[in-house]
């Protein structure tokens, strides 16, 4: 990953969480965010595929099944770029701890499974800063599948990789697709220094570990709010 801006000059810290659907990573990053904001740290949370402007087009593309592997990849990169240019980078410059629920590695995994060239995908996202910490919530495929499939009556078309034509049965397709994504993640663990978290443990146990790692890797007191832009009684 190349860096357009010298990382030394960036005051903030970037923390990414990655993992399969059903790995529990969203729960963990939510708890991380609650802890940091309640304890008075400058924290910002951003989610994959959530740019207000771009998401409309993505939704239409998904709903009407207009997307191909290449346009799927590009539209998600557009979404990411919007959040990156307007929020992630400015907030990092302003000295925030930015928590990202899924980062470029999600694209690396999904787009590669969909058949896009791995080198091309990496170049597409080459403008993105490498996170200071990447937590990878590692869970046996079976557990992840059970968590997703137990709680829901149906899985979404793209989530199940139905566009890949693995199987006409959404559940079977989902299993195959997630299995392939799992393999892609495993390839990246060493390539990008993922911090593995055993996501089959109880959530509170995982959270304790995650917080411990964060505290050792990030000098948290630097990220406290100092003073206030509001009168005291409002806080």
């Amino acid at each position: 990953m190349t860096e357009t801006q010298n990382k030394e000059t960036i005051a903030g810290k970037l923390v990414a969480v990655e993992g399969l659907d059903g790995s529990g990573k969203s729960t963990q990053v939510y708890l991380l965010k609650r802890w940091l904001e309640l304890d008075g740290y400058k924290v910002f949370f951003t989610e994959w595929n959530s740019s207000a402007i771009v998401r409309k087009a993505t939704r239409k593309g998904k709903k009407r099944q207009l997307l191909t592997p290449t346009t799927f990849s590009l539209i998600h990169c557009t979404d990411f770029a919007d959040r990156y240019e307007r929020q992630i980078l400015p907030l990092l410059n302003a000295g925030y701890i930015v928590l990202a629920d899924r980062y470029v590695f999600t694209a690396f995994a999904r787009d590669a499974v969909r058949g896009c060239d791995r080198a091309w995908i990496r170049k597409l996202y080459s403008y993105a800063l490498k996170p200071d910490l990447i937590f990878y919530f590692d869970v046996p495929l079976k557990t992840a599948l059970a968590r997703i499939l137990d709680g829901r009556t149906r899985v979404k078309y793209h989530e199940a990789g139905m566009d890949m034509g693995y199987s006409k049965d959404p559940y079977e397709s989902f299993r195959i697709f997630q299995g392939k994504i799992h393999n892609e993640y495993r390839r990246m663990v060493h390539e990008y220094d993922f911090i593995r978290v055993d996501a089959s443990e109880p959530p509170d146990v995982q959270q304790v570990k995650v917080r411990e790692i964060l505290e050792t890797k990030i000098d948290l007191p630097r990220y406290r709010w100092h003073g206030s832009i509001y009168p005291r009684h409002v806080q």
Partner: protein, 279 residues
Amino acid sequence: MQKPKRFYGKGIPGVDLDQLKGQLIVVEGADGSGRSTQIDLLRNWLERRGYPTVNVGLKRSMLVSRELEQAMQGNILGTRTLSLFYATDFADQLENRIIPALRSGFIVLADRYIYTLMSRSIVRGVEPAWIRDVYSIALVPDAVFYLAVSPKILVERNLRKHAVLDYWESGMDMHRSSNMYGSFIEYQRLIQKEFKAMQTLYGFETINGNRSPRAIQHALRAKIEVILNGKSGLVEEGSHDDANGTERIARSATTFADGSKRDQPAVRGQSAARHRSTH
């Protein structure tokens, strides 16, 4: 023989290039360079001769064109985001219009292609290597014609036609000058510099677009004729006449290719409805 098709990089996954029997012809140039006029004339010429054609251009994808238009109205997207949004629009048309048409043996006339998109991004500060990588998905055209028109003439043509300059084609988002006239000229110079730099890299033909529409059309036809002749297939009735026509066209093209700067606005006879600001 027809040159085999190729992508600039890895291209689109799962496309069998050998199946792409048609021809991809690109016309590049600024607003007011006469692109659309020339493409309309080429289309008539080709269809009269029995070649099926398809027109493509920027911001015409089913996937994102409307959303892209809305985002530009508000002018709130960052440069990189906008570049990627355009790339998505391009990829959608490449996969859903250009490639299928080429597979069916059509001639695809592209009103602008990746070169405009790349130069717009580069003049706005995006790294050239990055944007080239983004567009490594693109198919290498069979021919690219760049209609080079001096910025002064562009200004005159645009004003005569619309009485107003386009915000984006004037580079107003770059805030280099509050004077729109000056900004337009400066922006078009920057774009032309990028095109010049790309010319060696991508090997496209620069056509002197300062000339009359007729002279430009003759030059284009002569060059396209060469491409079509390299292709087996259509031998039509009256091909003898056509050969004569070609000779005549080729001759007149040389007459005009002396670099003389004749200011003949390409506006007459062009339907206003056909004009669409493509940025």
